[in-house]
């Protein structure tokens, strides 16, 4: 503290930080997230009750000042009524939930044996395998989805192989179908499922498995009676990490899906960018958030359960 006389403002700041350190350290991340994560949802909720107008910004204000200085609150439910009236939105929500559900199940089926294999591998190999799971996650998500266009399209890699082997006589249409969307989702979200499953399976007590086999249980019985039930928290956590973001997924249906691939993320996008109807886009987002409340709570509980298990 040599600069005590030379730079009183700095010393003052340092002293202030010393005295209020705890509050500051808590306050900085807390306020940042309140301002840029929590409050935005309130803004979206507010705008979902306003009317679209051709202006900047393109929505009406909820609060109007009458001539006498009184305040008038105008809540406009027409955006929500519109979501119910036009079957497009209900169909899009329903189809997003369906796609998210089936792709989560598919991801779980692909991920479980991989996570199990890695968890049972010798420790040195385990780290290499884990690295191999995480590595694709580090390369561009957009470009990995793009790679599937080349693989699945009419004159793409899969069709070229099938044609040259004589398995089909003409190319199979795979791109711009829901099948391509499922492949893209399973592919990009696989690490999110494997990692929580692995963390769960690697903690599995070997004594339990040995006890089971000593008592004469066949490996399959041991798996279904011990391993599978004990890995349920990992399965829930992984499933929610896939299900929740897939509900609002935009890039995968936009690049791999066809015109009849209906997903709510795509609807919100075009409502905002093509129709420039901010209030309806906000209402779409609010309904999506409401749908996601239960899955998010499930995720929180599963994570809390696995945190208790590890300590």
């Amino acid at each position: 503290m040599t600069g005590a006389q030379a730079a009183p403002p700095l010393t003052k700041t340092l002293k202030f930080i010393g005295a209020h350190g705890r509050a500051l350290v808590i306050g900085v991340p807390m306020w940042w997230l309140i301002v840029f994560f929590l409050i935005p949802f309130a803004v979206v909720a507010k705008i979902s009750f306003s009317e679209a107008v051709i202006a900047r910004p393109p929505y009406t204000s909820l609060i109007e000042w009458t001539g006498e200085g009184a305040m008038l609150l105008k809540l406009n439910f027409s955006n929500y009524a519109y979501l119910i009236e036009d079957s497009l939105y209900i169909l899009a929500y329903w189809s997003s939930i369906k796609v998210a559900f089936f792709s989560t199940v598919a991801t779980l089926i692909v991920a479980y044996p991989m996570a199990y294999y890695i968890a049972r591998a010798p420790e040195r190999r385990r780290n290499v395998l884990l690295m191999l799971i995480i590595l694709p996650f580090w390369t561009s998500f957009l470009l990995r989805v793009y790679a599937w266009i080349g693989i699945l399209k009419g004159n793409g890699i899969v069709n070229n192989i099938l044609l040259s082997l004589g398995i089909t006589s003409e190319p199979i249409v795979m791109l711009q179908t829901n099948f391509a969307v499922y492949v893209g989702i399973v592919y990009t979200y696989l690490p999110f499922m494997i990692l929580p499953l692995f963390t769960n399976l690697v903690k599995l007590d070997n004594d339990l498995l040995e006890a089971s086999s000593d008592l004469g249980a066949r490996p399959m019985a041991t798996f279904f009676k011990i391993t599978l039930p004990l890995s349920i928290p990992g399965m829930i956590a992984g499933s929610m990490l896939v299900f929740i973001p897939v509900i609002g997924e935009f890039v995968i249906p936009a690049l791999l899906g066809g015109p009849d691939t209906l997903m709510i993320g795509k609807v919100l996008w075009s409502e905002f960018f093509s129709n420039r109807d901010w209030p309806v886009a906000s209402a779409v987002a609010i309904v999506m958030l409401v749908l996601l409340v239960i899955p998010i709570m499930l995720l929180r509980n599963a994570q809390a359960a696995s945190a208790e298990g590890s300590s």
Binding site: P40, V110, Y146, N155, G248, F250
Partner: protein
């Protein structure tokens, strides 16, 4: 442990093939001479040359790198503070709220995050005139917010694993909390900080949806340019770009993992 069932090994091999085949195909066809990306017609590096002459892609790449560097650095500071507060500060008012706000951005659909931030920026601009317009600054704020959640998770798990008695010993010996953090905690969690920063950097570099919402005219990021090209169909120069990104990432991860080895043993 008994020997593994054969179908488990087969499932694992198929799974890893599934993960890597698309990446390998991107790289292989970036050296294809033909413009038809998936029909092999001979080795060529001409698409790399074409890429380096494309001012739109180079400009967007430079914008994205600047955004990613600033966002990752800010996210590192805020995310580390959040992790520290959640693991070392005991109970305080709003702890559950902070915990929730740190987890939620990880799963929040990007269209919702993007839309909500844009509407916030517009409302703030009409209320206090800041941020004036949208561009680099608004993208940086948005990226910092979702990246700090990733940093917080990575650092938090490292802090939970760390032996707290080290910090307690330093405190007992009379060190101030800030000094304990910089002299004891920081060196131990350094690997987590490095991977948190790298993860934030790549996530920011990769983001299309949120940036599309909050960016303004003149601030097109690399994913925005790639997306508009890719929507029109496959193009070999995008394969070349993907290969360059994959090589850089693989090198970065390899370097980071050799740097982290000694720390893990300690």
């Amino acid at each position: 442990m008994k020997k593994k069932p054969w179908f488990l090994s087969i499932a694992a091999v198929l799974g890893f093939t599934f993960l890597y085949a698309p990446i390998v195909s991107l790289i292989v066809f970036s050296f294809n001479e033909s413009k038809l990306v998936t029909v092999w017609s001979g080795f060529s590096t001409k698409w790399y040359g074409k890429l380096l002459e494309d001012p739109q892609i180079l400009g967007a790449a430079w914008i994205s790198l600047k955004i990613a560097f600033v966002s990752a650095s800010l996210a590192l500071v805020f995310g580390t503070l959040a992790a520290l507060v959640l693991t070392r500060f005991g109970r305080f008012f709003g702890k559950n709220l902070l915990g929730g706000m740190v987890t939620a951005p990880l799963v929040m659909p990007e269209v919702i995050t993007g839309l909500s931030l844009l509407l916030l920026f517009v409302a703030m601009e009409s209320a206090f005139g800041w941020p004036a317009g949208r561009g680099l600054l608004t993208i940086i704020i948005a990226h910092t917010t979702f990246c700090m959640a990733y940093v917080a998770i990575v650092v938090q798990s490292r802090l939970v694993d760390m032996d707290e008695s080290l910090e307690e010993a330093a405190l007992d010996l009379g060190a101030k909390p800030a000094r304990v953090f910089f002299d004891v905690t920081l060196p131990v969690i350094a690997p987590a900080l490095i991977s948190g920063w790298l993860l934030s950097f790549t996530l920011s570099l990769d983001d299309l949806v949120i940036a599309s919402f909050v960016s303004g005219p003149g601030a097109s990021t690399l994913p925005m340019v790639i997306f508009s090209k890719v929507r029109l169909g496959v193009s070999p120069d995008i394969n070349a770009l993907a290969t360059i990104i994959i090589v850089i990432v693989a090198l970065g991860v390899a370097i980071a993992s050799t740097q982290m080895k000694p720390a893990r043993d300690s």
